[in-house]
């Protein structure tokens, strides 16, 4: 009798834990994470692009990053295709307003590329390797931490 009670208790505890686990969750891919990581990585890639062209590695000043999910319009979260608009000022003071696409996978990584094909497929010559490479400021890969505690930013 004790054994059957313990067994039932164990089953109930397991089910309860399962329910808690399944219900208490923020999606991995949130607007907040996408916007934050895209902006930070874009800045770094921009500076890296300058560095590899033999210029001073200066980060652009990002004034605004707004991303929206093209796959989950209601909750604005989850993997899939995201569109991002990034406004920044270059080292020469020029203001830019670019539209980008992010293909976010379920593992918290993405491929990002500008919708301007000229910039997307633009090549630069790396002064270190002397190879012609795709300009990092036109397309790049990125990843974000799904445990960073960042909340979904639901501003429309």
């Amino acid at each position: 009798m004790i054994r059957s009670v313990s067994r039932r208790a164990a089953v109930l505890a397991t089910l309860g834990a399962a329910v808690l686990l399944l219900t208490a969750c923020t999606p991995d891919t949130t607007r907040g994470r996408v916007e934050h990581d895209f902006a930070a990585t874009f800045s770094n890639q921009y500076a890296q692009s300058l560095q590899r062209q033999g210029k001073p590695a200066t980060r652009p000043k990002v004034t605004s990053t707004v991303c929206h999910s093209g796959t989950n319009l209601k909750k604005d979260s989850g993997p899939g295709t995201w569109s991002c608009e990034i406004k920044y000022t270059g080292p020469d003071g020029t203001r830019h307003d670019d539209n980008w696409v992010e293909l976010v996978d379920a593992l918290g990584c993405y491929q990002a590329f500008t919708q301007d094909d000229a910039k997307r497929f633009h090549k630069i010559v790396d002064v270190y390797s002397h190879k012609a490479i795709l300009d990092p400021a036109g397309s790049f890969d990125g990843c974000f931490d799904v445990y960073d505690g960042r909340k979904n930013v639901s501003k429309k």
Binding site: L21, L22, A24, C25, T26, P27, D28, A40, T41, F42, S43, N44, Q45, A47, Q48, Q51, R52, T71, N72, G78, P79, G80, L103, D105, A106, L107, G108, C109, Q111, D126, Y128, S129, K131, I133, L134, P136, S139, F140, D141, G142, C143, F144, D145, V146, Y147, D148
Partner: protein
């Protein structure tokens, strides 16, 4: 020599004597070279694969791009091929009674076999990682690598990151191996011992790409297989890896425990 060491020695000799094991190791040695050779001879790059866009820029992208494929299905397959019939083959050959009537008890036989299979699994991972790195560096170049945070990492730093990334998949791969061993002991079938873990890996992989509950995804071995990406970021983040390793350890311990208990208690009535 202790019974465990005796079994370990015999099992490693047996594994090396098997054509399919040697063929597998040779395959892992050669495939990275074929892969990068094909990439270099075509114009298009696999942009949908992480680090695919950098395959012609730096040799250190090769082992990382291969790691993406490996973590999806190759590593579970390797684990299943090595561990999936380490016990069931003894049932099929009838040799379990042969080894259990020598001076080694069941405990030594179990742990010796497990250690041998795990050693070969780690060896397989090392072979493919080193081969991929050499293939990339020799054919493409020993050039700096862009991390997923957008920073340029020196060649030496890149080599270290590649090594760490590959090291993170060892534990989840061994967990797949433990599952394969458990199935092999429970079913006494080499076919199931190989197929079941591969199917489990594929199902986990499929779930990973479904837009379903993320919490469940975090409890799958496939998630841990991809946690190396945090190491490649700047700043690096390790929470997915730390949690994933705990998840892997749980799979490993549970599967190994079930396998051990069943093996210890079973009657050897065949052979």
């Amino acid at each position: 020599m202790s019974p465990f060491a005796a079994v370990y020695r015999v099992e490693t000799r047996k594994l090396l004597a098997q054509t399919r094991v040697r063929a597998l190791l040779l395959f892992l040695l050669v495939v990275p070279w074929i892969y990068i050779g094909l990439i270099l001879h075509q114009d298009r790059l696999p942009l949908e694969t992480l680090y695919g866009r950098y395959l012609k820029d730096t040799g250190y992208a090769t082992p990382l791009a291969i790691l993406v494929y490996a973590s999806q299905w190759v590593l579970p397959l390797i684990a299943a091929l090595l561990a999936g019939d380490v016990f069931s083959s003894e049932d099929q050959l009838g040799t379990l009674k042969t080894i259990l009537t020598r001076s080694v008890g069941r405990t030594a036989v179990f742990w010796g076999k497990l250690a041998a299979v795990f050693s070969f699994t780690v060896l397989a991972i090392v072979i493919v990682a080193v081969s991929a790195t050499l293939a990339g560096v020799i054919t493409v170049g020993n050039d700096p690598l862009v991390d997923v945070g957008g920073h340029l990492r020196s060649a030496s730093s890149a080599a270290g990151l590649v090594a760490i990334s590959w090291a993170t998949v060892v534990l989840p791969t061994l967990a797949f191996g433990a599952i394969a061993m458990m199935v092999s002991i429970l079913t006494r079938s080499s076919v199931l011992g190989v197929i079941v873990p591969v199917v489990i890996g594929l199902v986990m992989q499929l779930y990973t790409f479904l837009n379903a509950w993320d919490t469940v995804r975090h409890l799958l071995l496939g998630w841990t297989m991809s946690a190396w990406r945090g190491v490649m970021d700047s700043p690096s983040y390790y929470t997915p890896l730390a949690r994933g390793l705990v998840v892997s350890a749980v799979y490993l311990v549970v599967a190994t425990t079930v396998a051990f208990v069943v093996f210890r208690r079973r009657d050897v009535a065949g052979g």
